[in-house]
Amino acid sequence: MLAYIVRRLLYAIPILIGVNVITFALFFVVNSPDDMARMQLGVKRVMPEAVEKWKAERGYDQPLFWNGAAAGLDKATETIFFKKSVRMFVFDFGRADDGRDISREISTRMGPSLAVAVPVFILGLFVTISFALLLVYFRASYLDTAGVVLCVGLMSISALFYIIGGQWLVSKVWHLVPISGYGEGLTVAKFLVLPVAVGVIGGIGAGTRWYRTIFLEEIGKDYVRTARAKGLSERLLLFRHVLRNALIPILTGVVVVIPALFTGNLLIESFFGIPGLGSYTIEAINAQDFAIVRSMVFIGSVLYIIGLLLTDISYALVDPRIRFQ
């Protein structure tokens, strides 16, 4: 078991290196820093000096991989690759275009992101699984069919609609909560209600349908027939037998996103003005701040890989076949 976890950890290293190389190639090889400078400064008629100044300010005035002009070890370290990519492994992300320290920015913005993402995750899971269990309990009835049709309908609606529609109805027509913003202490609750509700509702359609399929697949298995032959009630059957077995496939999809909760929800944060990492990313994209985008790509990948690792571990906890291997 321990060897298994350590092995998964070791496997994460080449993947992180791969992610790093891909991002580096994307940001520095597809376009030269000169191109970026020219674009940031306005494409037409940029003075070469201005380009050089822009690059120097941001540390892009070094060679990509090999600095022949430097001495000793600096030949390898005084390069864009080392400064901008290798340093990421120690979570040193450098500065954004506005001069702020990205690492500090990230750590202060994690809180608001989690404040939205965690309730959306937990409530969403609870609502969708309960709804799916309900449909499965009444499987092959009209309620089930109607539920599935409703889910397909909900799935077909754009997330943007839930947000825009929710803001309009709840905030503008009913005046129940502020349209957007964020506060300190307990006042934050009134800002969070709507984004959380929108996040949960937006996920009901796809989630319910997915869990329903998993439950139905389990219900068709032989051991369920055995349990029925023992005289178990349908309720016990669902909760004691089916749910526990269904947890195994459910975990694959669920655990892997838990670490990613830190990076928040791009759309919701940006629409509701929540100062989290999601809106940070969107602002960076709009401002074309490559340093921030690069950092977020790296963090996102690290969190995903942690998620994969957690998935492996949670499998072992739920499935005795892996636990006793």
């Binding site: 060897a3 092995r7 070791l10 032989d222 051991y223 032959a229 005289g231 195994i248 005795p320």
Partner: protein, 606 residues
């Protein structure tokens, strides 16, 4: 009054009617068997009695009275009390019928709680069904148990509610022969001790002979014959019942196998044991005769699968699936390789074809060593008629594939006619054919490139008895017409008797006994062979006291020291623990790897 009375029961699924008006009674303490081939409606009947039919199936008419109550008038809630309490059920596939994430103890305890038993009885029940170390086993999960143990746990679970009627749906079909005998004996003992009635569903006449008080033969959703067991076996009344008997391999017309055109066992130089015997070659080869060079000679074949563990997934050991096997197949003859699942017989067959890479050994064909596949010499017929034909290709293309790959000219229509099919079937897809027809197509495909040897991997084990008989006959006719040789892999002794000239018995990767069919089947010398023979349910109903081997076959990843069979062997000597016995020739044709000598069947000499 009977415990269970079924009158005119009918079940419908969509347009089909799998059960079409069935009536029978079961008295308390009686064993009633429902006998029939697949699709005859026997399992549906059982599920209808439990009211556990699949979602689309409906009971369309009939009455069932259980212990004086009208079963179809009981509401679902009341039915739940009856299930597990009044009547309990055991299913065919123990591997999937237990909840994989709950311990055995918890699953049995659930029944006890539901039907008013004491939770402590879990251990007692496990002991009752013969599970060693029941306290530890109760806290284990199904995947930690062998197939036989799982089925024993299923039985314990069924007994937990003290049912008056036990329904067992093919309870031993998924098990190995020796385990099958153990489970049948267990069921019989429990039924007798508890005075329980039993409804046993099976396709196997041998199981009926061993277990039943009365038998009902089902065909096309109807009971065509109901009779006491003894008269049934003496003189089956219905035409269909008679056909079932006639289809048994031991009753097939032509009786024993005729000798191959060029009998391999005459000649000189085979008196002094095997000339190949020497360093590293103790496989017990027998059939070496001068002037009778075998068509296929396998020497010391080994196939190992690596076991990887630890941080870097280093190979820490090997599963010796096939461990130094030597055999020979003569021209025009059949060698049967007999063994239970996991003994390595299929792996050996695939390695001989070079579908798997052997770790060691020499395979020669017609005196010439083979290093890669030799499609024009050897072909294979696979076990599963549904998995062996690509569902996306027409039969014509399936048959032509091998010919094209090998540049052989041939006529697809002729091939089909040769295996008893219609030439016009070439334009159809596999799903339009039954299992038996598919197996004929698979044989035709193998024959398309004119091989001299066919490796048949349990080609009839997935088929019903009557279809099996047709395929066996076809194989025998083809052998006579074309002078084909067969390497026939099977676990079915009756099939061996019908088809084989020579027999090799495999246990855990090694051949333990080898000889002519007469040698091995009439005078088995290895205790394992004896156990296999004894475990076969016999039709005369007088199997005597069958020699039971206890326990399950060990894992080939971790075989016992010394003779692999010694932990299960009723005659084991101290020496058996230390050393694997060498092959000892008993006659010019018969050899065995055992320290003990027997005379006759089972009586020990030394």
């Amino acid at each position: 009054m009977s415990l269970l009375i079924v009158r005119d029961l009918a079940v419908r699924i969509g347009a089909i009617q799998p059960v079409a008006g069935v009536s029978f009674d079961i008295a308390a303490g009686e064993t009633f068997t429902l006998l029939g081939e697949s699709g005859c409606g026997k399992s549906m009947t059982a599920l209808a009695l439990m009211r556990l039919l699949p979602p689309l199936a409906r009971i369309t008419r009939g009455e069932v009275n259980f212990a004086g109550r009208d079963l179809f008038a009981i509401p679902e809630a009341g039915m739940r009390e009856l299930r597990g309490g009044g009547m309990a059920m055991i299913f065919q596939e123990p591997a999937t019928s237990l909840n994989p994430v709950m311990t055995i103890g918890a699953q049995i305890g659930e029944v006890l709680r539901l039907h008013g038993g004491k939770p402590e009885r879990v251990i007692e029940l496990l002991e009752l069904v013969g599970i060693p170390d029941p306290a530890r086993r109760a806290s284990e999960y199904p995947f930690q148990l062998s197939g036989g143990m799982k089925q024993r746990s299923m039985i314990a679970m069924a007994l937990a509610g003290d049912p008056k009627l036990l329904i067992a749906d093919e309870p031993t079909t998924a098990l190995d022969v020796t385990i099958q005998a153990q489970v049948l004996d267990l069921l019989k003992r429990l039924q007798r001790e508890r005075g329980m009635a039993m409804l046993l569903i099976t396709h196997d006449l041998g199981v009926v002979a061993r277990m039943a008080d009365r038998v009902g033969v089902m065909h096309g959703g109807q009971l065509v014959e109901v009779s006491k067991t003894e008269p049934f076996f003496r003189a089956p009344a219905h035409e269909y019942s008679r056909r079932l008997f006639a289809a048994l391999p031991e009753n097939l017309s032509g009786g024993r196998t005729p000798s191959p055109p060029n009998p391999p066992l005459e000649g000189e130089g085979n008196k002094g044991g095997c000339p190949l015997e020497g360093e590293g070659n103790k496989g017990g080869c027998l059939l070496e005769g001068e002037g009778h060079a075998a068509l296929l000679a396998v020497e010391n074949l080994s196939v190992h699968f690596p076991i990887r563990r630890g941080l870097l997934q280093r190979t820490v050991g090997y599963v010796r699936a096939v461990d130094g096997v030597s055999l020979k197949v003569s021209r025009g003859a059949t060698l049967a390789v007999v063994g239970e699942s996991g003994c390595g017989k299929t792996t050996a067959g695939k390695a001989i074809l070079h579908l798997l890479k052997p770790a060691a050994g020499r395979i020669s064909f017609g005196g010439e060593e083979l290093k890669t596949i030799a499609p024009e010499r050897m072909q294979m017929v696979f076990q599963d008629p549904f998995g062996s034909l690509n569902p996306r290709l027409r039969i014509g293309r399936i048959l032509a594939e091998g010919m094209r790959a090998q540049g052989v000219q041939g006529d697809v229509g002729q091939l089909l006619e040769q295996v008893g099919l219609d030439a016009a079937m070439a334009s159809r897809y596999p799903h339009e054919f039954s299992g038996g027809q598919r197996q004929r197509i698979a044989i035709a495909r193998a024959l398309a490139v004119n091989p001299q040897l066919l490796i048949c991997d349990e080609p009839t084990s997935a088929l019903d008895v009557s279809v099996q008989a047709q395929i066996l006959k076809l194989l025998r006719n083809l052998q006579q017409q074309r002078g084909l040789s067969y390497l026939f892999i099977t676990h079915n002794i009756a099939v061996v008797d019908y088809l084989a000239h020579e027999v090799a018995v495999m246990y855990l990767g090694r051949i333990v006994e080898q000889g002519t069919a007469d040698d091995v089947l009439r005078n088995p010398q290895h205790p394992y062979t004896q156990a296999l023979m004894a475990a076969v349910p016999r039709l005369d109903g007088q199997a005597g006291t069958p020699l039971l081997v206890p326990g399950d076959p060990p894992s080939p990843a971790n075989p016992p020291t010394g003779c692999h069979f010694h932990p299960r062997c009723p005659h084991a000597l101290p020496a058996c623990k230390d050393r694997y016995p060498d092959a000892t020739p008993l006659s010019g044709t018969h050899s065995v790897r055992c320290f003990i000598r027997f005379q006759g069947s089972g009586s020990r000499v030394q």
